[in-house]
């Protein structure tokens, strides 16, 4: 199938072998002229299958026996993530929640509780919504960072086609009590790099590091120690909002 989507303000023409990715991208379709094109060949799908097998083995998990149309969605997002870098956009693993026109990015290794925490926000603040629950895109525009929706949004698939100024990045840690503190970028940039899409080429990796550096110059960073008490949402929001 051939169609064009808009992600982070960049128009991307997609040539896919299967229809699943078209269904995935329905909310992001556009008629605008594409900025670049992504095409998929069977070898790209096989690459994703082999990568999934290796990752499952490394993590000691059973291989999920994924379908070709699902693997194609992974292959397409990989190619988008590599090519969209030249538009000052990069993928950072995390969950972005939006409230009152601003976006907050929560990041942590898998299993720490990003989804649980952002669900607390949705319950506590009725106007809050998820921009992307797993793989948001961040765009640097004129010294400001924007968090952007994307249909590639993990198991829950929570996402919305918006682009909002990023107010803060918050690293989540499990703790006995809910508390938040500001952290310096030089302490947190290894985590940010670990959570960002890692392209294979040197020029692309240099561009990713350059964008992460811009993120560090224009965004505040926090560490949230949190338990499973829904009050963690209030602690996080007030901690970030009251630290102007």
């Amino acid at each position: 199938m051939d169609f064009t989507i808009s992600l982070a303000g960049v128009n991307i023409e997609i040539h896919s072998l299967y229809g699943a990715v078209y269904e995935l991208c329905r909310d992001y379709l556009t008629d605008h002229r594409p900025d670049f094109t992504v095409s998929i060949a069977p070898a790209d799908i096989e690459f994703e299958r082999e990568k999934s097998v290796l990752e499952a083995a490394r993590e000691g998990k059973p291989y999920g026996n994924f379908t070709a149309d699902y693997l194609e969605t992974l292959a397409i997002y990989r190619k988008i993530s590599e090519n969209i870098l030249r538009y000052d956009v990069f993928l950072m693993h995390g969950a972005v929640v939006a409230l009152d026109g601003a976006a907050y990015l929560f990041t942590a290794p898998s299993g720490v509780g990003k989804t649980t925490h952002t669900q607390f926000w949705l319950k506590k603040y009725p106007d809050a919504f998820i921009v992307n629950g797993d793989k948001p895109l961040l765009r640097a525009v004129g010294g400001q960072i924007f968090a952007c929706g994307s249909p590639w949004a993990g198991k829950e698939g929570q996402n919305r086609n918006v682009m909002l100024p990023l107010k803060a990045v918050c690293a989540l840690f499990r703790g006995n009590e809910n508390s938040i503190r500001r952290i310096a970028f030089d302490k947190v940039f290894p985590l940010v790099i670990a959570q960002s899409y890692r392209p294979s080429g040197e020029a692309e990796m240099m561009q990713t590091l350059r964008l992460i550096k811009i993120l560090g110059e224009h965004t505040r960073f926090y560490a949230l120690s949190c338990n499973l008490d829904p009050d963690a949402a209030r602690v996080a929001k007030e901690g970030m909002d009251n630290d102007e």
Partner: protein, 89 residues
Amino acid sequence: MKLRYEFAIMDMGGEYAAVPVGKDATEFHGMLKLNAVSADILAQLKEDTTPEKVHAYLRGKYPESTDDEIGANLVKFLNQLYREGLLQI
């Protein structure tokens, strides 16, 4: 001696990030957080070189440091790279 992988190195504001790149770099999932001297050493190791050549380079760049200081820092960092499988001898 030479680095096993190519590295992208970036000054992140006083401290440096070094991330392996290239097809084989998927074997190493981490990154290195370096000070300016270690970042200089890493950059020298992109091409095949010797400890003596790197030492001489550092002496030229950091004339305020003694031979012993430069040597101790160089050996410590090279050993660290070797232990982590990042240096080919």
